[in-house]
């Protein structure tokens, strides 16, 4: 019995150390924030109804689907003229999670099954796992509204910084 427990503890601490090493070692990008990106049209057109979501939060195939359906975008009409849409799509694709070495982007990407192209960051398995302790009622608070309102809780969301020290859930 005792030996069995010792083994468990030993095994537990070895794997914990492994995880620590893995998460500490692979960073090399100055913390966990996604790299800053900018594009004037993206900023102007994709931040009028909600914050501009960093392109590194979804894979290329998701951005292409989103851009192909702007006229019926989550119940709203967010249609753009063709040249503006093409410019924004190119920017989103070039900085998408597939082309983003940042750890966070890679994790999001890995969580999505190969055949799937989710239209929401908040529907990715990565997002679900990171927010599994937040109740639907919390997301529905007047000060928040829905899981899509990242910046209500993440003070660094607009800058692509979702680190723990910048999280504060409003009442």
């Amino acid at each position: 019995m005792k030996k069995w427990m010792q083994f468990l503890i030993l095994f537990g601490s070895v794997s914990a150390a492994g995880t620590l090493l893995a998460s500490g070692g692979g960073e090399g990008d100055g913390g966990r924030a996604l790299p800053p990106v900018s594009n004037a049209r993206w900023k102007a057109e994709c931040s009028s109804c909600h914050m501009a979501y960093h392109p590194g939060l979804l894979p290329e195939r998701s951005w292409r689907r989103i851009m192909a359906g702007l006229d019926r975008h989550f119940g709203e009409n967010a249609a753009l003229d063709a040249p503006t849409a093409a410019d924004i799509e190119q920017f989103l694709v070039a900085n998408s999670a597939d082309r983003q070495p940042a750890r966070r982007s890679q994790r999001i990407l890995q969580s999505i099954p190969p055949g799937a192209a989710p239209l929401r960051i908040s529907e990715t398995p990565y997002f679900r796992a990171k927010h599994d302790e937040i109740s639907p009622a919390t997301f529905k608070r007047k000060s928040i509204g829905s899981p899509a309102n990242c910046s209500a809780c993440h003070q660094g969301a607009e800058k692509g910084d979702f680190s723990e020290r910048l999280v504060k859930i409003p009442r």
């Binding site: 009028s48 109804c49 909600h50 709203e76 009409n77 003229d81 928040i144 509204g145 899509a148």
Partner: protein
């Protein structure tokens, strides 16, 4: 900016430069005369009614311009995704109705959203008249 003008088919009537709301109204007036020979001017009162009228859409939801812009457009509003919208009334936000391409883009989206059709030049002019008369 210019690209939007092409799309909306208003190339001739809009200047691509920042314009005063009055200038914009003159352009809608010219358009309204073309749409309706009996055009008899814009009315702030009609604009106010238009702004507040709740309409039931084909999906059963009700919406009005006030849904997002609030009943008093001198106040900030909120989008469905809960982001703050700066006030629509120029008295509270002097940038409103100075960028014709932006105005046309949002009339295009919001009229389709609330009325499920495009707004007429008469409706746009009444709407702007109402907002610029707010003090």
């Amino acid at each position: 900016m210019n690209k939007w003008l092409l799309i909306t088919g208003c190339v001739a009537s809009f200047s691509a430069f920042a314009a005063a709301p009055q200038e914009l109204l003159r352009q809608y007036e010219a358009q309204a005369r073309q749409e309706n020979a009996a055009f008899a001017g814009f009315s702030a009162a009609r604009g106010a009614t238009f702004f507040k009228t709740e309409r039931t859409r084909s999906d059963g939801q009700t919406a009005s311009c006030a849904t997002c812009h609030t009943a008093d457009p001198r106040n900030p509003g909120r989008t469905r995704a809960n982001k703050v919208i700066e006030p629509l009334a120029p008295v509270a936000n002097p940038l409103r109705f100075t960028d014709p391409a932006k105005v046309e883009k949002w009339f295009g989206r919001n009229c389709k959203d609330v009325l499920e059709r495009a707004c007429t030049a008469q409706e746009k002019g009444d709407f702007i008249q109402y907002l610029i008369d707010l003090k």
